[in-house]
């Protein structure tokens, strides 16, 4: 029987929420890895029983966990993320620190794990300090795709408030040599050769927080999304501004339209409607809560520009939670359900594309990430 498995990463452990295709009755399993920060969990499209998890903490650093039985049991795999020497140097080089000084690249944590669409043992890891790693042996070892940091602008990258992190990875659905990545606060990048070489794809972005608003790099891109049927169309939630590209990132135009604020973190696309997009507007860069204390998801059915607030079932007063960049997902059953988690510990789902919402759970630790596996 079809069903879904929702993988929830939180500040204090991971949770697995399961339901049949009705998605009305849920089983909550967890916490797994209680006490650890679980930045991201994601299942393999090749075999849904293969799940990857990023486990980290201030005391004991980074662990990567792998499950081969759908999250019932886990085994730690390799956690050596050694940066490659670039630019003809003997070491990994430097990036800019907050104060403009040169700081040696140093691994901090894995923000995002992206399993290959075609190979069970291949998985990508976006990490802080911003770099992309790849494993082709089931996570036993990791190799940096150093062309990203080494494409030219790497030494100028500066961290955002959350760190210098590669937090978003999108794999082209039919051509895995094309990968999109987003880095705070450097911008969006694309490779067309499997990660050997990279291009900044930030033309059309304007950021008032940097000296040259239209600079090639330096933009704080918060999240990217695409629909597999239209992989050249990208949606972006930037620090401020919601953006769209119809040429695989070659150029961007703003689609913030009538949003109450265009600051936010996650963005996602309906599973069966490539022009239906979801964002969660947040008051401002220094006030990461919903405007007016009302938690509203906004939906555009026109690929951006025109947005409608979705409020039924969501708190409409005294709500001051945030929804982080990896904390929204959609399932791919016939009736697409949208999910998101909050820093207040709620995981909401909408069985009707956003018209109404209900909480699957309400009191988890702060939610860092939400991913959904559609099971057949």
């Amino acid at each position: 029987m079809a069903g879904v498995r929702v993988l929830v990463g939180t500040r204090k452990g991971a949770f697995v929420l399961t339901s049949d295709e009705g998605r009305r009755s849920w089983t909550v399993d967890g916490p797994h890895f209680g006490g650890w920060e679980m930045y991201h969990l994601k299942g393999s499209p090749v075999d849904p029983d293969r799940i990857w998890a990023s486990q980290s903490g201030g005391w004991f650093g980074q662990v990567v966990q792998r499950s081969d039985d759908g999250g019932r049991s886990w085994d730690p795999v390799g956690n050596d993320f050694s940066y490659a020497a670039i630019d003809g140097r003997q070491d990994a080089g430097t990036h800019q620190d907050f104060d403009g000084t040169a700081k040696p690249w140093a691994f901090q944590r894995v923000w995002h794990l992206e399993p290959s669409l075609t190979d069970l043992d291949t998985v990508y890891a976006g990490v802080e300090d911003a770099a992309l790693f790849k494993s082709t042996d089931g996570g036993a070892s990791w190799t940096e795709l150093a062309g990203l940091r080494g494409h030219g602008s790497g030494p100028q990258w500066q961290p955002g408030a959350g760190g210098l992190c590669l937090h978003t990875l999108l794999l082209h659905p039919t051509d895995e040599s094309r990968i999109f990545a987003a880095i705070s606060a450097a911008g969006a990048f694309r490779t067309d050769d499997g990660g050997a070489s990279w291009l900044p794809i930030n033309k059309g972005l304007l950021s008032g927080e940097i000296p040259q608003q239209e600079a090639e790099v330096g933009h704080c891109v918060h999240n990217l999304a695409l629909h597999p049927d239209r992989p050249d169309t990208l949606y972006m939630q930037k620090h401020w501004d919601v953006m769209r590209s119809d040429d695989a990132g070659g150029s961007w135009y703003e689609i913030s339209g009538d949003l109450p604020t265009d600051f936010g973190f996650p963005i996602d696309v309906h599973a069966h409607e490539p022009e239906t997009v979801y964002v969660v507007p947040i008051t401002s860069d220094d006030f990461h809560v919903p405007p007016d204390g009302r938690l509203r998801v906004y939906r555009s059915r026109t690929g951006g520009g025109e947005w409608e607030p979705l409020t039924r079932g969501l708190p409409q007063e005294h709500c001051y939670v945030n929804v982080l960049r990896d904390a929204m997902a959609v399932d791919r059953l016939d009736e697409c359900v949208v999910y998101f988690g909050t820093t207040g510990g709620q995981v909401y789902c909408s069985p009707d594309g956003g018209d109404t919402w209900d909480a699957i759970v309400r009191d988890l630790p702060a939610v860092l990430s939400v991913e959904v596996q559609t099971l057949s």
Binding site: G57, G58, W59, F60, G61, V63, P76, N79, D80
Partner: protein, 96 residues
């Protein structure tokens, strides 16, 4: 035989309960080498895998002394080497 007490999170990673033992270790570095060889899941959790530097919020205690700032190759107390006293790996006090 050196007796080692791990913090709860590392015991869970190593899938052990209670003390563990490392044979033939006379220095802090040798204790960590032995632990990581026997329990590969602990690699990188106590010290940086490349530089060997102790992680900032990990402490090493033995015989009521803080050995965290001792050179990794400094001799361990004799009581630890012969197993009379345990070598403690501690998650430092951090947070408010």
């Amino acid at each position: 035989m050196t007796r080692v007490v791990l913090p709860a999170h590392l015991r869970a990673l190593a899938r052990v309960s209670g003390e563990v033992e490392v044979a033939g270790a006379t220095t802090q570095a040798a204790v960590l080498d032995g632990l990581e060889a026997r329990y590969p899941a602990l690699r990188g959790t106590m010290r940086d895998p490349r530089t060997g530097r102790r992680r900032a919020f990990v402490r090493f205690y033995a015989c009521s002394e803080d050995l965290s700032h001792e050179p990794p190759d400094a001799p361990l107390p004799e009581a630890v080497v012969r197993g009379a006293e345990p070598f403690l790996v501690i998650g430092a006090m951090a947070g408010g």
